[in-house]
Symmetry: C2
Subunit: 322 residues, 2 copies
């Protein structure tokens, strides 16, 4: 049985892609089971409830050599801790290719689109398989989530086309109303502890490829944690700035990071206010983005995509000659 | 203009895949130009002549940041020397994933099939593009070449299905006769210098991933050069054993390798006799394959696929705990 899973700190796409890809593979004669690598965020339970689907179970410890399929990620830092011992036989992803290697030739399908589910829809079509209503609902939700209902600069024509195809199959008549309900669920953070908010949509990135740059070689690889809170109610999150900075301080030390950032993204107004922990982060934000920090915050304007706007600027900063 | 190229020491698939993929991308609105990274082997000119196509030009030096598409390879050791400075935006390949990374999300299409061209045919179908006769001829030739007319254990049902579809489009009525003519051209080595024979289908592999194994960590990464001569006339090649061993000795020293092997594959009888340079190679062949060396040769039996039978056994030997 092939284990299919998305990244740690799973977002909606990481969960729904595992469910949809496991079902697609099973229909194609490759028995597969979806798993998750962590707790759900506040949006995904809404999506699963609307689709009438259970959350996938937590991935159990896998023996060395077990076959796995990765969705919505490929870097070891975002995956299961013993990934190097596992046999990665399939990957469907829309992120840049990181440190993944495979022991044998494998099925890899990467496209620079806004959402893994957009690729999964193509896989259904290429296999001449109909899309079932529940899968359509899951894929549509992931596309709306990852693209912030087409507001994110990661959105591509393929994502719009996929969503337009999926909405009637999913039985979603008013896509805008459905997206707003998803975002409201995601923003209903209640009294969630600050550590949980920080880590809800959080990834660790290695920056500065020593093979590409002399400066990077001299500095060594830098590990930065970057959290994002996408919300329709940024005032609530920013009101908890002191708690969040304390959680960031703790995480930076506990995870041995060189730096940590938490971006509070206003989904509806498409703006990004990033919390700044120390002079280290302040200097990098100034030099990589040309923005100043005041009162522990930096206004990153309309840079709302970690993948497309934050990470590439940091990678260019830390690997200057590439 | 996107530069499309296969690996160094190009075989037929590396050349034809570059030609076919560049044409496919151009038809899809992505202007692309095929290149090669080295001299043609003895089979490819026959294929190009039959198809009425010119060989692609040698890749010129590309500036840092230039966009490239890789076909039939992904490891930096088999690619252009400054690959790390280039922007890899597309890869179509059927090998295991090595040390490739990308700066941005990219189009990656890897499948564990016998030939890159089998994947390229799928790309035509998925794009609803007809296959032109010349492209059919090039793809069919590459499939017959890579799978040794379906003799190689790398052959998959997808390769057979692709070839069966392509043969009538290519206007090849007798596939067997065409394959034999290709192999005869490939085996007509004349007075080619031994160094050229060694490097004709030759790749350098890093073995022993330190992240996967303590022993590998202690030993460090081992670099081995592995050449293959596929021929219908193995007696001719083996008759030049002394010259070939001298060329291997020189290459091992010049390239700073830990070991070097040259497999002489009898295409029609599906057997592999491998030339063994020194006690280092002798020990590894004994421990990884259980075969003994006599008179500078080891009989590897029906292990005729470097990708599927030689490299995985060496990788398992050098990374024992993975």
């Amino acid at each position: 049985m092939l284990a299919v899973f998305g990244h740690t700190n799973p977002d909606t796409d990481a969960i729904t892609s595992a469910l949809v890809y496991a079902r697609l593979l099973t229909r194609q004669g490759v028995p597969a089971q979806a798993y998750r690598l962590g707790n759900l965020n506040f949006e995904t339970p809404f999506v699963l409830r609307e689709a009438g689907v259970e959350a996938p179970p937590l991935l159990p410890e896998l023996e060395a050599g077990s076959q796995v399929a990765l969705v919505d990620h490929n870097e070891s830092a975002q995956s299961v801790p013993n990934l190097a011992e596992l046999a990665v036989v399939r990957v469907v992803d829309h992120h840049k290719l990181g440190d993944l290697t495979t022991m044998q030739p494998a099925f890899l399908r990467f496209e620079p689109v806004g959402c893994t589910s957009t690729i999964l829809l193509k896989l259904h079509r290429e296999a001449n398989l109909s899309v079932e209503q529940v899968d359509a609902r899951l894929m549509l939700s992931a596309i709306l989530s990852d693209t912030l209902h087409f507001r994110s600069p990661t959105t591509t024509p393929d994502d719009r086309e996929a969503a337009a195809f999926l909405a009637p199959v999913a039985g979603v008549e008013d896509v805008e109303a459905y997206a707003l309900a998803m975002f409201a669920a995601k923003s209903d953070l209640g009294d969630t502890p600050a550590e949980t908010l920080l880590k809800m949509d959080y990834k660790v990135f290695p920056f500065g490829d020593p093979a590409r740059s002399q400066l990077a070689q001299a500095r060594g690889v830098q590990h930065w944690g970057i959290g994002v809170i996408e919300t329709t109610n940024p005032g609530y999150v920013l009101g908890r700035q002191a708690e969040l900075l304390a959680a960031m301080d703790q995480a930076r030390a506990a995870d041995g990071l060189n730096g940590i950032l938490l971006s509070v993204v206003d989904i509806l107004n498409e703006t990004n206010v990033t919390l700044v922990l120390s002079a280290t982060e302040e200097k990098v934000l100034r030099e990589a983005f040309g923005v100043e920090t005041a009162g522990g915050r930096a206004e990153l304007g309309n840079r709302i995509s970690r993948k497309k706007q934050i990470v590439p600027a940091l990678e260019a900063y830390f690997t200057p000659e590439a």
